[in-house]
Amino acid sequence: MTAKSSLLAAAAAFAIATVAAPVLADSGPTDAQIAHIAYTAGALDVAAAKQALAKSHNKEVREFASTMLRDHEAVNGQALALVKKLGVTPEDNATSQALARQAAETHDRLAKLSGAAFDEAYAKNEAAYHQAVNSALKGTLIPSADNGELKSLLETGLTLFSEHQHHAEHLAAKL
């Protein structure tokens, strides 16, 4: 991983950690907040994949983006079904908002790029983004989840996102 993408990952992890701090002050985020954060993280990556599919002409980048779109929509579909079953209403919170703000900045930065420059920036950001989300899942979201089914879905998410992270790192290294 390059210094730039490490920096991105660190910045994203910092955003999650620092913004989550007020939420965590008592006893960690509630299940309603965790569900919102996890769903938001997935939805933001779906949006990033759509941007890549609209802009990239690179076969491998497009295949990667298609996988991101499909996998994250699958997890989020399960997440929606689960919160409905549990009668939980996902609750917006500072962490979700920080993720969305940062994704909007990334979207605008990538929108100005094209061709190989876009492909490289997208792949690097995907590696950094998944790394940051995985750190949050491992360090905060999974340990804080009270409901067993939510915890289990988050663990499946971590397995999936870890594979995505390695896939993105491998892709970024090739571009």
């Binding site: 996988t67 499909r70 996998d71 699958a74 499946t156 594979e163 390695h166 896939h167 491998h170």
Partner: protein, 106 residues
């Protein structure tokens, strides 16, 4: 002419039988939680593998030697055949971290 016929019939019956061809068998490999499950240890050329995708994600079971490539929607199952002896490296095209190794004997 009866005697020679009987002798021929007897001779045919006594001829050593060719070894019975082993009937191809079907082995199941389950894909779940972003992993290929245990692969059969006793695969023989001609055997079939039933790939069962129990995961919530779409996967493939793709032989690196291109001898088979099955695409599995969540909950789907599909059969491939291992045609010759040797080691076959299998990967999911969508998730390159997912791998399995098949060892096929003749």
């Amino acid at each position: 002419m009866k005697a020679p016929n009987s002798i021929i019939a007897l001779a045919v019956l006594l001829m050593p039988m060719p070894p019975a061809l082993a009937a191809p068998r079907t082995h199941t490999v389950v894909i779940d939680k972003m992993k290929f499950g245990a692969v059969p240890a006793n695969l023989r050329a001609g055997d079939r593998i039933l790939w069962v995708n129990k995961d919530m994600f779409r996967h493939t079971a793709t032989a690196k030697d291109r001898s088979f490539d099955v695409d599995l929607q969540p909950g789907a199952r599909a059969v491939s055949v291992v045609r010759k002896a040797g080691a076959i490296s299998v990967v999911c095209r969508y998730h390159p971290g997912m791998r399995a190794m098949l060892k096929v004997t003749a």
